[in-house]
Subunit: 216 residues, 8 copies
């Protein structure tokens, strides 16, 4: 019996397909997983370029890899893309996580525009894009450092705000703890939170909302 048991029924049961967190898995384990997947669709997250380069060529060939977000698609994204989700991102350094969220949404069949560099230190940047943001049915907000963006956005829009704190920052912000606490301690309503740097998790929650909560 193999050491991994992929949960191919997950998509049917929970609305989100099986994904593989590549961090902490060996090249051999990943090849085993891809072999078992065969033609089935699979999202790979936290796949760094060195590990990708070590995969056997046939496996590598089947992957649509994005270096910034370290995600790979095994199989094509679902189509056509369903509208409603948007990703909003505080700073340039938060982009890898924002893009992990966007790519995860995209693979699952959802449009995922990214609105970048709207951190609150220059509030006008956010205000300028507010109409676009207000049009989303669900907002995935990505921010590190002190994470003030989460509260500010939630005070300005009607949609639920899924906060994805990032590990961007140093000192007391190192590892994302300050941003995480800000998101949880928010004085605004309607903010919900996922783990630090978990763009994939933020996307999954958005998918459940759009697919299940918003189902007629």
């Amino acid at each position: 019996m193999s050491d991994f048991v992929l949960d191919w029924e997950r998509e049917k049961r929970t609305g989100v397909a099986e994904a593989v967190l590549c961090e902490g898995k060996s090249v051999a384990q990943l090849e085993g997983i891809l072999a078992e997947a065969g033609e089935r669709r699979l999202l790979l997250t936290r796949l760094d370029e060195e590990k990708l380069a070590k995969l056997a060529a046939n496996f590598r060939a089947g992957l649509d890899f994005d270096p910034l977000s370290r995600t790979a698609f095994h199989g094509a994204p679902r189509a056509p893309a369903i509208e409603g989700a948007g990703v909003v991102c505080a700073g340039t350094s938060d982009l890898p996580v924002a893009r992990e969220a966007a790519r995860s949404l995209q693979f699952a069949g959802f449009a995922a525009p990214v609105i970048a560099d709207v951190g609150v230190a220059g509030l006008w940047r956010l205000m300028k894009r507010l109409d676009e943001i207000r049009a989303f049915k669900v907002v995935v907000a990505v921010a590190g450092m002190e994470g003030a963006l989460f509260s500010v956005i939630a005070g300005l829009v009607e949609a639920p705000v899924i906060a994805v704190p990032t590990s961007v920052g140093y000192g007391v912000a190192a590892g994302g703890r300050a941003a995480l606490r800000s998101a949880l301690a928010t004085c605004a309503t309607g903010v919900v939170v996922v783990n630090i740097d978990n763009g994939y998790g933020g996307a999954c929650a958005a998918i459940r909302i759009l697919r299940h909560s918003a189902a007629p």
Copy 2:
């Protein structure tokens, strides 16, 4: 100029009406707030019975108070109640928080059935109620101690799961930190988290989902 500035436009702007966290506010401050509210609807949370008893009789008379959840309605709940949200609760000790979520939903015009005492130490209890839980469009899950309930539910349903960790527990669970971390670190997808004991916050997120994300 008064020391408080109630945000009467909040409901219009974000879909959730103004609420007052009574903890940390004096009786005089609360009376001032109620006076300003006048006929406008207001939800009071974390109002303990001693503080309630000290309010001037005319203010107290206008409140529909629930001691278990320490919430009070100033004004009537919206009607008719919209279906879709459900509150699931691990143990008897988590009920005050579960009920804060349910009452907050109710006040905002949403039905909020509570499914109680389905902790994972006796998994059959959860399994017995699974069909009911699967029928919800959004699940507010309330659990303390190790918070294993969040992952187990999210693995079994399609709806987004809003985890409300509670401060129930002692030792490493004291203050809700173990449950909070479990919710954030979940191996399941589709779990989003609010602050410890924040039943109100869990409800607000559910309301945004049902009102905004699920709007046609």
Copy 3:
């Protein structure tokens, strides 16, 4: 030799007069300190009403006590009040700390208007008062919970922002840790921070800035 050695030269040396933190001191110790002070000016902080009530009547009579901030003036505030500082406060629950800052400024001879309840969950409240805030030479900002106010203000004004995180909040915000980290991790420039609930400390820094840095 007595057990306390008051630093009567401190005002001359550092620009801020001696003050006594009453928390953790016995009634007998406080009476000893007041006796030694005699006619000299002294600010008392964190003096709760029960302790005040236990002081000998002659000592109590000499104090100008403010219950909200738990401060007392022994001797009159300096006059006339110098303009330049302003206290900005996120929520009603933060008022005791904001007022400790304002009273400390006042006792030292500085005007200290308080602009209250401008938390970022309803950004319009802050925007409405922005011109007033921009007129200050130094801003003492007081906020608990997630402390997003610090970053937002600092992005909007030119003055240095002295952040005083408060212990207002529960769960991950309990004790003021989330607000403190937010203040330190801010993405905005020009924010400096003092200890949690340290309104007095925030005032002292403002005083040094106005008295020493701004001296011709």
Copy 4:
């Protein structure tokens, strides 16, 4: 006098033989230990491949090394293997720790089947193997991230569950803290816990139970 004093009587005194944690020891120190061991049996843990490669060939030749678990046997495992223990493992990334437990049991003369990839996000995987797990006299459960597996298993079986939290995960799960706290805060009974990533320690406890507690 040498710098290390091996405890050759430990097996007799406590039922578990001497083992050497290689992490933090230099190659020279390890060679000294192996030289002193001579023909005596010794388990090496946390021996990484680079350090192994640097050992003198004669020492290396005497070791049965397993790269996944980073364990090496110096001397043969005891035979025949005694039944009763089982290792249950949440995800592929937890396998190195699960295997450290299994190898430690094996070296001490105990059978140690590993049941892998039965994390609670897909509960059916665990349910499918439940009969096998129920047959164990003692269960060593290995899980990272939120560690919900510990509570779920303990609610389903009669055997004591030795929880080995792993450092698998990121954000709030980084370093294994979330899984550790979950194991300690469990709402189920019969869970006992060892240090993070301590597969060897989990095995030692199982050995004491099977050898001493279960002795007639």
Copy 5:
């Protein structure tokens, strides 16, 4: 439907009967639970005397209450008591927790002698009782402060040592964190750990070992 769902099958499924943590439950909730229990056996833990005094007389009459451990038996302990477990306790202040463990064992039908005040600051006290301790099949060790007792005992006996850290201590030991970490970080083998002050949990693990692991 009632708010609590007692798990009457738990004893059959896991070997340990249902118990009720009274902390955090209201008097009304406890009465409801006792009413539902009727003739069935139930262990109550963390029941303080004030809450006990408030129970209706008929419920109180049915309880065998022990004030030191704050435990109550609803129904008689199983008989005859099975030998094998022993409770070892570092200091006088740890006795309430040690006794919670002993009473929990007793109620479940196990003898549970307590060996008290054998802290390592005076090692001779432990040595004097060592033969008794070595005779146990499983040791429940209870200690606060730095918890050095766990490592020392585990180095001297063959039985598994279930460490129950207590919240005894101040400063860095406050709340039991130092003792907990000591237990987990032990340099000795065969130590397993439960939550701080969780005498009941320590007993449950011992029961599983004696009932299930040691079953022929």
Copy 6:
């Protein structure tokens, strides 16, 4: 639309020009930012030498780089330099942070003499330089380890003391947490604090004080 939105109006709005934290940004992102900047002035912080070396030659040529502080000037510092700020530094290891503060001040048009190696373990070193320090209108104090310097200086001068804790130290001082807490918990008045290693932030606060608070 590009992924970064530089805040060119920041200097006008807050008195401090736009700066770029290079840590966590890719070479491509930095080149994009420099391209957009064109002739406009920009401060780069936390730029390590390897990343600098990878920048296209034309961009590198335009930078005045200082390896100790890892800062680069894009454009010339403002002139003439305004007097008033001083940087005081505890030990040799704190110099990189002290210099980041000094360079940031310098770029903005302020003189920034550095007084180094005046740690309190040899108090005479500080006393010898006291007159120089007392002449500053604002002091940026940089210290790691236990950060006692902050309190000692603030007790000796009249200027506000901006404490910049550094990550210098090991054990409990690792990462700068001990120094940070010392700065916040100071028994002296007039100390304000910025994030660990945030020399740039300390400088920005000093600039606001000198430019705005001290403006006539």
Copy 7:
């Protein structure tokens, strides 16, 4: 067999007599201990006045109680008092701990002058007493808040400095953590540390030094 085992040989074995930490012990337990002590000398620490008042009159009569330090002597202090130790204390609020140290020394037969209120915010206070402090063979230094006193003293004297951090302070200083870390992270040499508020422990170390290390 009784539940406590006093270590009457401890004084002979380690140079410091048996002492009883009263916190966490019941009145009945304390009476049992005093009964067993009989004529033998015993130091009681952390005995609060309410508990003292509840002791049977005959036990209370035999105690020399000091309310500030919450210590009681059962039996007379040793005489004549040996010179060499000194207690130095930062602020009035630290006096209870300083006095616990002084009383513990005194009971064991050592002189223990207390030099109070020499905190570093007003360095001249310390300098004025420096000659006295330099005359001690061992210094017990007691300070809360940021604990800068430890480093400053150790830089000025030749004696070993036993730092006793106190729980005086709020915010990040609450519970004594900031002072503890300062003491451990000191940039000065010759500082050793005991637990927060552990005046007794500081005294015991001084006694071992004076009795054993300094023995001819």
Copy 8:
């Protein structure tokens, strides 16, 4: 003026000569310090081999380097060595820190025998060496993991025990926090503590005790 100010009078003032922590200093800075030192004696700590190799040959030639402890003597140790101190060490992995303590003592003119590998998991190892340990006037005890050694030794000897916790261990022991807390929370008397891995600091305290406290 140079960036470093060596404290050449420190030995005279405090009994311990100037030492240089090489970690965090550049090669250029170290060369500057050695140049300034000239013929004066200097102890270098935490000097790793790579940095040593990069020093100019003339500086390297003047150093007596020990790789295990990463210490170097610039100048000869004082002679003749004074007896009285002893270093006791729990495990092989703690030896680098133990040796840093021993070398620091040696350089200052004190004999410093090291008794290694006497961890409490095999108590007989400690007991076998107990007479030697009891002969020391001051014991420097070095241990990582759970640090039980500190309490056990202090219960057996009369000398003061200077605990040096090490960062040896993983999981909850990582970084030395568990050992540090154990040392501080000890139930034994006479234990004093220095920072994690601070062998040098432990030695300095021992030197002050032997040189100053024990001076006639």
